[in-house]
């Protein structure tokens, strides 16, 4: 099937052009630094001997800090690797030999999308699984609702891929990069404004955050993931920078799904109709 041929090509390109290996190498470096760091903190915690509840909160804090960085790194990876995949092939002309073959253009888009989705989700599993494993091996702590949390983080990656594909089908690589990171920036700052709004009980700030999430529901998905995996006590206090005070509703998650689906459909439509 042509989709699978293109998906395999995408995977192979990431491998041949060292993108995959550099990402994995830096991922290992990140996990090594993270592991050494939490091991040191764990030693201190063991020596100072705080109570079980307090220990659990500290481990959750460290776990969430790790996942926060993993989320950020995988988001960056999702955008950087995919931003060039359509526009770059169009600009260089490599697309001509592909589209002149007996396959439909949506198969090219979907093949590439699936290739990136598989690669990035594996990367998320490697990084997120690494953080989870390190925290568990060092402290024996396991955060709650790991699976729903990781699903939300994965969902976030797929969403950003869809946006990056839509930009790539219609804009130059640079313009697409600026667009996706720009939107991500809006969603990111909106998420923080909403967080502070929720802490201080400011409805306007919360509303600004919600509107930003409507522009790109990326940060909302991370906040949902953080909400799932944070400890109940931190959730109740709402004091950690890596956790969620204002929790995105299931409706927002549904909106994100619709957003991603429509964005991908528009990307396919635009790529299918444009001159190459």
């Amino acid at each position: 099937m042509s989709i699978l041929v293109i998906a395999r090509l995408t995977f192979r390109e990431a491998s041949r052009r060292w993108i995959l290996w550099v990402a994995l190498l830096l991922g290992v470096l990140f996990l090594a630094v993270y592991g050494i760091g939490i091991n040191e903190i764990h030693k201190d915690i063991s020596l100072s001997g705080p109570g079980m509840l307090q220990r659990s909160e500290m481990y959750n804090f460290m776990f969430m800090a790790g996942m926060y960085v993993v989320n950020f790194l995988v988001v960056i990876m999702a955008v950087l690797t995919s931003v060039d995949t359509l526009s770059g092939e169009i600009a260089s002309g490599t697309i001509h030999t592909l589209v002149s073959k007996p396959l439909r253009r949506w198969e090219i888009v979907m093949g590439k999308w699936l290739g990136f989705a598989a690669m990035l989700l594996l990367y998320l599993l490697f990084m997120g699984g690494g953080v989870l494993a390190l925290v568990y091996l060092i402290s024996g702590y396991v955060a709650p609702n790991i699976l729903p949390g990781l699903v939300m983080m994965g969902f976030n990656i797929l969403l950003l891929l869809c946006v990056s594909f839509l930009g790539g089908a219609s804009l130059s690589t640079l313009a697409n990069g600026v667009l996706v990171f720009g939107l991500y920036g809006v969603a990111f700052i909106g998420g923080w404004i909403e967080q502070f709004g929720a802490l201080m009980g400011n409805q306007t700030a919360i509303n600004i955050g919600v509107v930003c999430s409507l522009v790109l529901p990326s940060e909302a998905l991370w906040k949902r993931a953080a909400y799932e995996m944070q400890s109940p006590l931190v959730a109740a206090l709402g004091v950690s920078p890596f956790t969620s005070t204002s929790v995105p509703s299931p409706l927002m998650v549904g909106y994100a799904a619709l957003y991603g689906l429509l964005t991908l459909l528009f990307a396919i439509r635009h790529f299918s109709r444009r001159d190459l």
């Binding site: 041929v5 030999t97 007996p102």
Partner: protein, 308 residues
């Protein structure tokens, strides 16, 4: 639906505009199955845009057409066509044989077929030694050869070659000519977009001249080249009645002192002209027929103002 007995290419009133710019004004032509068709025109005449419309890479603004019996842009027709794009930019992180395997997969060729076909094609284009080399390390000529192999993978009924020899040395050009001849023998139609007229002159059955995105003339190459004969005569005395008498053989007679220039439609008129001049008491010193080259015809038909 595809029609196995229709022409290889049939387009009618194909037009493409990019904003204000008219790339192809009105393209109407037919390429029969099994013929080698040259598509000639100056730079900027809209040749590549026309090729891209044939393959569905570009959507026509108006007009329609059929490729191997299927509507333009139909992906099923592309299964029976091969295409070498003008700039031959490929995924250069693949090796030559991986590149061909990828495109064989896209043609949905079973692996056991493609694994047999790929070495044959590498041999055909002279790249067997470089099968495991990455395309990144290929020269321009080698890229063009591998691009040609990619266009022939599926044993196509129609091959569209957009400037197939622009990056090749004389040996490579001869190879392309041989491949085109071989394709013709096997009944494959070839649509050759080239501005290298010597190639077209050697390989094509029919040619179309286009300018400003419009077909100026479509002719069988043989009759085109044989059709016109330029003759230069040195003789005296060339009186006006004698010159006027030549009009029965040529509508295009020019007299310049002792020199006469005329064009004929058939070589057989030469002895008659000679006899006429002698009978009129004219002394003939030289009578030199010259065939018009395709380049002469190109300039005669397209003019010298077409290049952009």
């Amino acid at each position: 639906m595809s029609d196995p007995i229709g022409p290889a290419i049939e387009v009618n009133g194909l037009r493409k505009t990019f904003g204000e710019k008219v790339a192809v004004a009105d393209l109407t032509l037919t390429v029969q199955r099994g013929e080698v068709f040259g598509f000639l025109g100056p730079n900027g005449a809209g040749k590549t845009t026309a090729v891209k419309m044939l393959l569905g890479l570009i959507r026509p603004t108006s007009g329609d057409g059929r490729l191997l019996g299927a509507s333009l842009g139909d992906h099923c027709a592309r299964a029976r066509a091969g295409f070498l794009p003008e700039h031959f930019r490929f995924h250069d992180w693949l090796t030559a044989s991986e590149f061909l395997t990828l495109h064989a997969d896209l043609y949905r060729m079973p692996r056991h077929v493609s694994q047999q076909r790929i070495p044959e094609l590498l041999e055909l284009v002279g790249l067997t030694q470089h099968a495991s080399q990455k395309l990144r390390q290929f020269s321009k000529g080698m890229l063009q050869r591998i691009g040609l192999a990619q266009a022939l993978l599926n044993d196509p009924q129609l091959v569209i070659l957009d400037e197939p020899t622009s990056g090749l040395d004389p040996v490579g050009r001869r190879l392309v000519r041989d491949i085109i001849r071989d394709l013709r023998q096997r009944g494959t139609a070839v649509f050759l977009n080239s501005h290298l007229l010597s190639e077209v002159e050697i390989t094509c059955d029919r040619v179309a001249f286009i300018k400003f995105g419009e077909v100026l003339q479509v002719s069988p190459l043989q009759s085109l080249i044989e059709g016109e004969l330029a003759v230069e005569v040195r003789a005296r005395p060339l009186t006006p009645p004698v010159v006027a008498g030549l009009s029965r053989w040529s509508g295009n007679v020019r007299c310049d002192g002792e020199h006469l220039h005329l064009t004929l439609t058939q070589e057989a008129d030469l002895p008659a002209i000679n006899r006429y001049l002698v009978e009129q008491g004219v002394e003939v010193f030289a009578l030199q027929p010259q065939r018009l080259s395709l380049e002469d015809l190109f300039i005669q038909i397209v003019g010298t103002d077409g290049g952009l």
